[in-house]
Structures are given as C-alpha cells and as structure tokens.
C-alpha cells in the first residue's frame, strides 16, 4: 500500500480547511484529496469525516458510488492486456500471466512501486494485431515475451 506521507497529510488538511463550512464540499474535497494521494484509503476518508463533520458511512457511500473515486492506489501508467478471443488464443493470457509473475502484481491491482496498474480488457477491436496491449493511450500489436519488457521500458 502506498503510504500517505506527512506532506500529503498537510495538503489534505489544507484542502479540508479551505472547504470547511461550504455546503456540498464533499465531492470536490474527495477529488482534490485523490489528486494528492492517488487514491482514497479509509484513513483519508476518516480525516475528511472529522474535518467536514460528515459521517464516515456517507463518505464511503459517495466514494463507492462514483467511478472516478478509487480506494486502491493506481499506478503512474496503466497496462491493459486484451483478452478478446483472438488475443486470448494468440497468447494474450500468457502475456498477462507473464506480467503478473514478473511484476508480482495481481490483475486489477497496482505494483508496489506504483509504476504500473495491471488490467485485462475485453476485445479492443484490434484482432488483426493480436495479441494486443494498451499502455496508457498507446496500443501495441503482436506483443510477446520477447518484446513486452522492451515496450514497457519506455514507461518509468
């Protein structure tokens, strides 16, 4: 888990202070705090609860309602391995297993050093390029064990 540093806590406190007493502040506060920490763990939610005088249950309800908020840290870059049928049979699944072992990270989770978040996606419509992988906004074709690390080396 990504540690919330002292500097981050200071920023979080500053955000809460700026919004204190303002009606409807919760969502902007959550958004800004997520920008600081990269995610919204329970401890941050607790601090916001105390600062804004809003029940923790309400905050948890809001965090889990909107897709923009996350309670697990996201990496600096996202890897999405396509597992559409064409990619699956051409080794998409093998690529995913390889990355999971190499980076020691589960699918849907983030590496400890926050370099990558690893996800699988359904068909991205690039069957002719199978197996395909999307890193941030870039799509890569014919990915395999031989070239996958070379591709990912570009993302630090």
């Amino acid at each position: 888990m990504k540690e919330i540093t002292v500097a981050m806590w200071n920023e979080i406190n500053g955000i809460i202070q700026r919004y204190q007493g303002k009606p409807g502040a919760l969502i902007p506060v959550l958004e800004e705090c997520q920008n600081v920490c990269g995610y919204l763990p329970r401890e941050v939610q607790k601090r916001i609860s105390q600062g804004l005088n809003v029940p923790e249950s309400t905050i948890y309800g809001v965090v889990t309602f909107y897709s923009f908020f996350t309670m697990v840290p996201r990496g600096r870059h996202s890897i999405k391995v396509c597992l559409g049928t064409a990619c699956y049979v051409r080794g998409g699944n093998a690529n995913l297993d390889y990355l999971r072992d190499e980076f020691d990270v589960e699918v849907g989770a983030t590496m400890k050093d926050l370099r990558f978040s690893l996800d699988s996606v359904r068909c991205i419509g690039a069957c002719g390029m199978a197996p395909a992988m999307v890193v941030d906004d870039d799509t890569y074709a014919q990915v395999n064990r031989a070239n996958i690390m070379e591709i990912l080396d570009r993302y630090k």
Binding site: G24, I27, E31, Y66, T85
Partner: protein, 626 residues
C-alpha cells in the same frame, strides 16, 4: 479587473470586426493579404495529433518571417472527426484535411507565399474522388445550418475578445439592460425552444415556473454531464464556444431572478473544463460575471462542478443531489426542481446546447428562431453522427430534416455499398429506427412515435453486419452498470433483461423469451423512479418491434444472420466465388484457412475463432456467414 460597460463591450466588438470579416471571407483575397489559419483543437483533434501540426506550421511561418500577416489559431472544432486534424484558411475558406507536420512547409510556401492552395491536402468527395477546396462547398457542411455551432471554426475559444467580436454578451446586455424578466421569458416561449438534453420540455415554460416560485435564493444549473456512449455535442460546444453557454446562463438567471449558478461537467472532459474555466475567468475580469454586470445592477456568478463519473447524474434530480455532495441518486418528482431544487431552492436546469441557443434568441428575437425547423420542434439540433456512415462527426441541421437526408446527404451514405439496417437515436435511452422509416423527420413527437427518442443527439448508423439483438444487449449491459440501484424495477429489471438477452446471444434462448422481455420492459418503463429507468427498456423494445425476426432467428433457428453472435454462425468459403488468392489464409491469425494457390480454399471449423478478419479481407465476397 477592468469592468466594462455596454459601450465598451460594443467598442471591443467593433475592434474585432476586422478579424471576423477575414474569417467570414468578407475581404478580397490577395496573395500577400492577411491569413488566419484556424486549426482544429477539440479533444478528437488532439488525439489525432493536431498539436504537432499546429506547432510545425507556426514555426514555419515564423522562420519565413510571415508572423505579421499570418496567424495560427487553435479552435475547438472537431466536427468532421474522421478527417482530423483539419485546418481552415481564411479569407478563402480553404479546407485542409489529414494534416501532418510535414505538410507545414508546402502550405506556407505554396499557399501563404505563392497564393496557390495545396491541392493534395484538399478534402476529396468519397464518391468520385474529386477534390473540393472550399469548406462550404463540401456537401457535409453545405447541408448544415449552424446556430449552436456557428462559431466553431471562427474563434479562439480561449480569447474572450474573439467571442465578443462575434456578438458574445450582446444578448446578455440586451436582456439585463433593456428587457424585463417577463419579456425574456416571452421571447424564449415564442422561440419554441425545447430542452436539447433529450426530453424536449419547453424551455420558456420551465423558466416561467421557476420565475413564479417565491424565494430569495434561486439557482441556474447547466447540465454538461454528457454520458451517452457516442455523443459529444455538448463537449464540442464547450470546447469551441464556452462564452455562449455562460451568456445563456446569465440570461436565464435574469429571467428567473437567480444569482448563483453551477455548470455540472463530467471530469472525463478535461479540455472542456479547462476552456470553461478560462472563459469564466475572462468574463469575470470584464465584469460580465459578478456584481452589477455591465452596469445593470444585476448580480450573477457561477462555478464549474466536476462530475465524478456516474451516468445517472445526467438526470436532473440526480445531478442536483450530486452537487449537494451526496450519492447522485434521483428524487421523486414532484416537487419539481423549479419549486424545490438545489438545497431545496427553486432551480432551473438546462443542457449545454439549450443554453447556447438562448443568446441568439434574445438578440434576434423568438420569432426569428421559431421560423426555423418544424412546427412543434423549432430551431436546429446538433447530432453526433457515427457508426456505418462515410462522414462521421457533428452535424447541426434544422429540425424537421428527414433522417435519410442526414445519413445520405450529410453523412455520405453507408460505406462499401452495404445495406443500411437501422439508425439508433438517443443512446441507451433511445431506440432503433429501421431503414423503412428513414423518412421520419427530426421532430420530438415524430421520433417518439417510432419508439426511439430524440435524445441528446447521438445518431449511430447500423448496417447489415450489425446484429440488433447484440446491440440491445450492449445497451442493457451499459445500463446495468449505470443503474443507481435506488428503485427496484430499474435495478433488478434491467439485470433480468440482460440475462435473457445474453442467453439469446449465446444460443440458450428459449421460446417465450421475447414475451418476457416485453413484459419486463413494460413494467420497468411504468414503475421506475427516474428517466433512466423509464427509458431503459427502449433499446430492447424498439428492436423487438422492428427486428423481431432477428430475435426469432436467434432463439428458434440458432442463427445470427449478421455474423456477430459467435455461438450462432460459422464462416464458409463459397468455392465458386473463391479465386484462391490466399489473402484470407495469410491474414488468418489461426491458420484455419487451407487450400492451394489459385484453387478454392476451405476453413477448418475447429481452428476458426470467428474473428471475421477473413470476411473483411476477402475482395470477392467468397467468405459467407452460415
């Protein structure tokens, strides 16, 4: 802070007249005359790498010492999405498409210096390949009527003076200084303007309700939470002409006597939020937002609220609940927001496109607006045209135009001579209008009578390769994810419908499934709390109405004619048509195609994964769906 008066506003407008004359082609074209290069800079253009093109052209102009008379301006235009990056050069109105940074030197030396536009970069008619140099001669634009989008190739959206030169805030000045609230509402009523977010409620009437509500505090909200997959009208308006929306809100505020507003914009639209924020800051600096606007003694200010990603927040009461900082779930109506909205105060909520129409209605009069369009649906409507159509992008047309004109005259028809099957309108809340009903006009009532809805403007063209059961399943899957869970019919009903549709698509359909779908759909429509649930069954019910035979094919004959539902078809090679060119064999990711060169090939069914690559690749229509 340099607060301006109405006279100063007019002065800024006159000063800017010269640049607008150039950009509207009102000055004579001379070889060494002033040139404005308006390069597209909407989200879609940025994704197609318009920025490096812009920088390359700028650099080339500077190196050739032309910066004095040639200006490069980034607009918010991304209307003709499949040609991006595009650039319009004024005063000639030359339209360049598919630009790359390497084209910069030719444009500068041949066009800007030599006076001869670069023909190889012109748009080409997809029918006959003929180059069409001028934007307004391209059929895609020639058939449109631009009101909401009128500024999209003409302005730098980050420069308020450009907007003022195109009459921005003239309507606000008139409304704040010359008109009473009643007169404003009357003009909007006369215009016949109806909500462009989809429901089509008369805007003037909505304002009248809120104006009549007695309260010292009222709110004006702008709905910029455009969540339908495939719709981007509001994003484009915000990216290209944000001041039109701010001005519409100022006028609305005066009409209902509100002094505070919010624009609820999706966080997924960072560029729109950025340009809105710049526009708000510039308007504040001129005193066009804040206290005593233009010396009228009227106060109004607003802020942008970032939506946090929930489709249901496009519903008005859910949006209001979300601004209050809660889970964005809808409320029971009545009381309607015009009586009790945000924080329990009277509130009006209008969509981006609706508000962007308002300044021109005030400036030119409601009667002028009412003359355009159809009798019950006046004015123009912006659609995001996409799917199986040659020209995809934003189109603005007078209401009352038949769908067929939009698809064929503007959209350029269906690619590869395929057969048009249906047009999907209104996204997940809408429905499919079959090819036989393509003469239906774009009018709220006419479209509703087909079982679809006008919606916010998503228009997806579908051809013979689209399976209507699969389309219905796609929308149900989307809605299942986005249902907020508050009321049972929507939360549980959509899930059940999706399960049945998934079964049908995967070959487990049973006799009687279609009847259950209809019964469920009817129940969900009648008993859901908000618009999301009340319209959710539309994609299923409208496809059942017009494409029942496809459902029956899936269920009774285990066959998907379109070749989409993988469990229900296979590919075979027509030995008569096959020339043995080996193209399909080379492209097959599975090596499932066998056969010698120049002899008919075969597909090994146990290896085939039905990815469709061979079907798309074959030039002789020899791959057939069985």
């Amino acid at each position: 802070m340099e607060r301006i008066t109405r006279d100063e506003l007019n002065e800024i407008r006159s000063r800017g007249r010269k640049i607008i004359d150039i950009r509207s082609g009102k000055v004579p074209v001379t070889v060494d005359g002033e040139r404005h290069l308006m390069i597209c800079g909407g989200t879609a253009c940025h994704a197609s790498r318009s920025k490096p093109v812009r920088d390359a052209i700028k650099q080339e102009i500077e190196e050739r010492g032309l910066s004095g008379r040639c200006k490069v301006i980034e607009t918010g235009n991304d209307a003709f999405a499949n040609l991006a990056p595009v650039m319009v050069v004024y005063p000639e109105g030359i339209y360049y498409v598919h630009l790359t940074p390497d084209d910069a030197s030719d444009i500068v030396s041949e066009h800007l210096i030599g006076g001869k536009p670069v023909e190889r970069l012109f748009y080409r008619d997809p029918m006959n390949g003929k180059p069409i140099p001028r934007m307004m001669d391209i059929p895609y634009f020639a058939h449109q009527k631009l009101i909401t989008l009128r500024n999209y190739t003409l302005l730098d959206p980050e420069n308020i003076n450009d907007a003022i030169a195109r009459d921005a805030y003239q309507g606000a000045a008139k409304a704040l200084i010359d008109m009473t609230a009643e007169e404003i509402i009357n003009q909007v009523r006369t215009s016949g303007l109806r909500g462009r977010g989809g429901a089509g409620f008369p805007t003037g009437l909505k304002w009248e309700f809120a104006a009549q509500a007695k309260n010292d505090t009222k709110y004006v909200l702008c709905n910029a939470d455009e969540g339908d997959p495939g719709a981007f009208m509001d994003r484009s308006v915000l990216e290209a002409d944000p001041h039109a929306v701010l001005e519409g809100m100022i006028i609305a505020a005066k009409a209902v006597n509100a002094h505070r507003g919010y624009i609820y914009c999706r966080a997924e639209y960072p560029l729109a939020i950025k340009r809105l924020s710049i526009a708000i800051e510039q308007a504040r600096n001129y005193g066009l937002l804040g206290t005593d606007i233009l010396g009228s003694d009227f106060d109004f200010d607003l802020e942008v609220f970032h939506g946090a990603g929930a489709f249901v927040c496009g519903e008005e009461t859910a949006l209001i609940t979300s601004i209050e900082g809660k889970r964005g779930m809808p409320r029971q109506r009545p009381p309607f927001p015009a009586q009790q909205g945000l924080w329990g105060k009277p509130t009006i909520l209008n969509n981006v496109e609706t508000l962007a129409n308002v300044p021109q209605i005030i400036l030119r009069g409601g009667a002028w607006y009412a003359k355009m369009g159809a009798e019950q649906s006046t004015g123009t409507k912006v659609f995001a045209l996409s799917g199986k159509v040659n020209n995809s992008g934003l189109v603005e047309v007078p209401m009352g135009m038949p769908l067929s004109d939009i698809v064929y005259h503007i959209g350029g028809g269906v690619p590869k001579d395929k057969r048009l099957k249906a047009v999907q309108l209104g996204g997940p809340s809408g429905g499919c209008i079959p090819a036989e009903l393509l003469d239906t006009i774009t009018d709220y009532e006419a479209i509703t009578s087909t079982g679809a809805i006008m919606g916010s403007g998503g228009m997806v063209v579908m051809d013979q390769d689209n399976c209507m059961v699969d389309i219905a399943r796609f929308f149900m899957e989307f809605l299942k994810e986005e249902s907020c869970g508050k009321c049972t019919p929507c939360r549980e009903g959509i899930k059940r419908m999706l399960e049945i549709l998934t079964d049908i698509c995967e070959g487990r359909g049973k006799e009687g499934d279609t009847e259950i779908l209809e019964e469920l759909g009817d129940t969900i429509k009648k008993f859901s709390l908000c618009g999301l649930g009340q319209t959710a069954p539309n994609p299923v019910l409208s496809t059942l109405r017009y494409f029942r035979h496809e459902y029956e094919d899936h269920i009774l004959r285990h066959r998907c004619e379109a070749g989409v539902c993988k469990a229900l078809f296979h590919y075979e090679i027509d030995e008569e048509a096959c020339t043995g060119c080996r193209l399909c064999a080379l492209k097959c990711p599975q090596d499932a195609v066998t056969g010698e060169k120049k002899k008919p090939h075969q597909i090994e069914q146990e290896k085939c994964i039905k990815c469709g690559i061979c079907y798309d690749a074959c030039k002789f229509d020899a791959i057939v769906i069985m």
